[in-house]
């Protein structure tokens, strides 16, 4: 009974959100529409975070790295090669996936806090590289004046904020739909199984590292596509878009939205980012303080989410064929 009520509530929230998103450009001013388009792009990154963190149980703070790769790839392609949005999307998704694939060896065997740490370092280093690689990224000044894109060959250029917003909305809806559909297949089942009991999945003959690598690359592609949307929406890109606070905000949004829910992550991230933008307008200078306190409050107020942490908790013993376990305990922490 209660489950049914929750499900109905969820459907209701989803319907209201979708209706509000579709009607938004006709009810608010242009500036807000532009902000909303940017927020939607961030929401798509949050979907990729939820895919890794919630569905696959691989917590991440580094999805800004493929997001940035996609954004810059899209900006460079947009200024030099093509103004077709679909091409931008493809190139950006490929760039994000490529960056994620490069980092796969680093993340494939890490879990838990170690993974958080490694992904955070990867994300921060990627932003540092973006800030210093002046010849391609324009350094900390960023790339301004990216040409307006057209969605498909033969269609008019996205000249207004409203058109850009609607383009963003359509792409986000399509990609989230694809992610949701894929998660309903066996792939989603395997990812969730790996989250809940990795040892058992491995024992039954599944190749977990392949799943982990696959979901990383897929999440990278989604984040890269979001980067392309960001460039289309604001026609400008700079390292400030990919800072450490962005990844933390995304994580907060994903946690608020219910880690394992892709749609919830989108809604949560949109809410958090909108609250941040609103706070920056209302309380100039004090926004980080309020936001920080909100983080702390959220941690205390959020429900516990059951007994099992939504993270791949245990590390597996080494593959038995390799070598026997050492008889002294593995060095786990501080030793001089």
């Amino acid at each position: 009974m209660r489950q049914r009520a929750v499900r109905a509530l969820r459907r209701g929230v989803a319907a209201v959100v979708v209706a509000a998103l579709v009607l938004a450009p006709w009810t608010v001013d242009d500036y807000t529409v532009a902000l909303l388009a940017r927020t939607l792009a961030l929401g798509l990154v949050a979907v990729s975070v939820a895919l890794l963190t919630g569905v696959a149980g691989l917590p991440t703070l580094g999805q800004t790295a493929p997001y940035a790769a996609g954004a810059y790839a899209s900006a460079v392609v947009g200024s030099h090669l093509s103004d077709v949005g679909l091409v931008h999307l493809g190139v950006a998704a490929a760039a994000g996936a490529a960056l994620a694939a490069v980092t796969v060896p680093l993340v494939v065997s890490a879990r838990g806090v170690v993974l958080l740490m490694i992904t955070l370092a990867v994300g921060e280093l990627a932003v540092a590289v973006v800030g210093r690689w002046r010849s391609v990224t324009g350094g900390t000044d960023g790339l301004a004046g990216v040409a307006a894109a057209r969605p498909l060959w033969g269609l008019p250029v996205l000249a207004t904020d409203r058109a850009r917003y609607l383009y963003t909305l359509v792409v986000v809806a399509a990609l989230v739909g694809v992610v949701l559909l894929v998660l309903r297949t066996r792939v989603g089942l395997l990812l969730r199984a790996g989250r809940d009991d990795e040892a058992r999945l491995r024992a039954s003959g599944h190749r977990v590292p392949v799943h982990v690598a696959g979901v990383h690359v897929a999440a990278g592609a989604v984040a890269g596509a979001a980067g392309s949307l960001l460039v289309v929406a604001q026609r400008y890109v700079s390292p400030a878009d990919f800072g450490f606070d962005t990844s933390a905000l995304l994580l907060l949004g994903v946690v608020i939205g219910g880690t394992a829910s892709v749609g919830g992550a989108l809604v949560g991230a949109v809410l958090v980012v909108a609250a941040r933008d609103w706070l920056f307008g209302v309380l100039p200078g004090q926004a980080p303080l309020v936001l920080g306190l909100a983080f702390v409050a959220a941690v205390y107020l959020l429900p516990d989410g059951g007994r099992r942490p939504p993270v791949r908790g245990r590390l597996l013993p080494a593959v038995p064929a390799r070598r026997p376990a050492p008889d002294r305990p593995t060095p786990t922490g501080v030793r001089a």
């Binding site: 963190t53 917590p59 703070l61 490069v102 060896p105 680093l106 494939v108 065997s109 890490a110 838990g112 806090v113 170690v114 958080l116 740490m117 955070l120 370092a121 921060e124 280093l125 990627a126 540092a128 590289v129 800030g131 210093r132 690689w133 800072g243 450490f244 606070d245 933390a248 994580l251 907060l252 946690v255 004090q286 926004a287 980080p288 303080l289 936001l291 920080g292 306190l293 909100a294 983080f295 702390v296 959220a298 941690v299 205390y300 959020l302 516990d304 942490p309 939504p310 993270v311 908790g313 245990r314 590390l315 305990p329 593995t330 060095p331 786990t332 922490g333 501080v334 030793r335 001089a336």
Partner: protein, 297 residues
């Protein structure tokens, strides 16, 4: 002959190399606290850079060129950072049973709020830091002028590193900490509360970060970006070091210091990628060992 040629070739790199040692030791003292938190409590403390910034701002506000001010700044900075570390530990205790995500969110919230308070109190600019007048000059090192403060800093930081080694290795507190890393439940059975160890370790990490912030203020100065920069450098060091070993942390910190100074001098065009490349290389080689180095709980 070859010695002369080698000397000529090496000569311009003496100063960056020394700088690298100073930088590396500073990063070590800062990162050691993060290693302690991570090793004992399994906490990724994202507010660690903010603790360093507290020390840095204290130094900028109190140093006036004399020795007493340095002692005062060191005392105030260490106490303030220690208290902040203990505060974070207190906040974390109530959610200790939850996942790493909640810990990350909580510590990031503290970092965000703390950074905002620091900027509100000390202004949005990078404040200048005055070192004691006696160390303000430069001394000759192998025919080069080199800042006296940095030389002294190298000695002091090396002493700190040695002291830390002794404390972790030889004292009862250090043994308890190491025991808690290996088997927290067994330590609890022995009658020592793991919660107390956790608070103590986070406070000690705060003290280390605060000391690094005060002493290192002339090298990595306080400012709105300091917390993030120090956190990133510490993270890279911790990841490079194989997550946990103090000796490894020291080596990794020295390597990072050299990359940031000597590497930039040797290969300016590749400088942005050097840190990334070093991390990728080390991780790729020992990714497997790294993952098994810690059983995440």
């Amino acid at each position: 002959m070859t010695g002369v040629v080698a000397g000529l070739r090496l000569d311009p790199y003496v100063v960056p190399a020394l700088d690298g040692v100073a930088y590396g030791l500073l990063v070590f003292v800062a990162a050691a606290g993060l290693v302690l938190c991570f090793g004992v409590a399994g906490i990724l403390n994202l507010a660690h850079g903010t603790l360093y910034a507290i020390g840095g701002y204290t130094a900028a506000a109190l140093l006036d060129g004399g020795w007493p001010s340095l002692a005062l700044a060191l005392a105030v900075g260490v106490v303030a950072a220690t208290a902040s570390g203990a505060l974070i530990a207190g906040l974390l205790t109530r959610v200790a049973a939850r996942s790493h995500l909640t810990q990350a969110l909580l510590t990031f919230g503290v970092a965000l709020a703390g950074g905002s308070l620091l900027v509100g109190a000390f202004g949005p600019d990078d404040p200048p830091v005055r070192v004691p007048a006696a160390l303000d000059g430069s001394v000759a090192v192998a025919g080069h002028r080199y800042a006296a403060y940095r030389l002294v800093f190298i000695v002091v930081a090396a002493l700190l590193a040695g002291l830390l080694h002794l404390v972790v290795r030889r004292t009862r507190a250090g043994m308890l900490v190491r025991a808690a890393v290996d088997d927290a439940e067994m330590v609890a059975v022995l009658g020592v509360s793991p919660a107390r160890i956790r608070v103590g370790v986070l406070a000690a990490a705060g003290a280390l970060a605060g000391a690094a912030g005060v002493l290192g203020a002339p090298i990595i100065g306080p400012g709105p970006d300091t917390a993030d920069a120090v956190l990133l450098l510490s993270l890279v060091v911790v990841v490079l070091s194989g997550l946990g070993s103090m000796t490894g942390t020291l080596l990794a910190a020295l390597v990072v210091g050299q990359i940031q100074t000597l590497g930039v001098a040797l290969a300016p065009s590749a400088a942005p990628f050097l840190l990334f490349a070093a991390m990728a290389a080390v991780l790729a080689v020992r990714a497997r060992g790294l993952a098994t180095a810690r059983r995440a709980t």
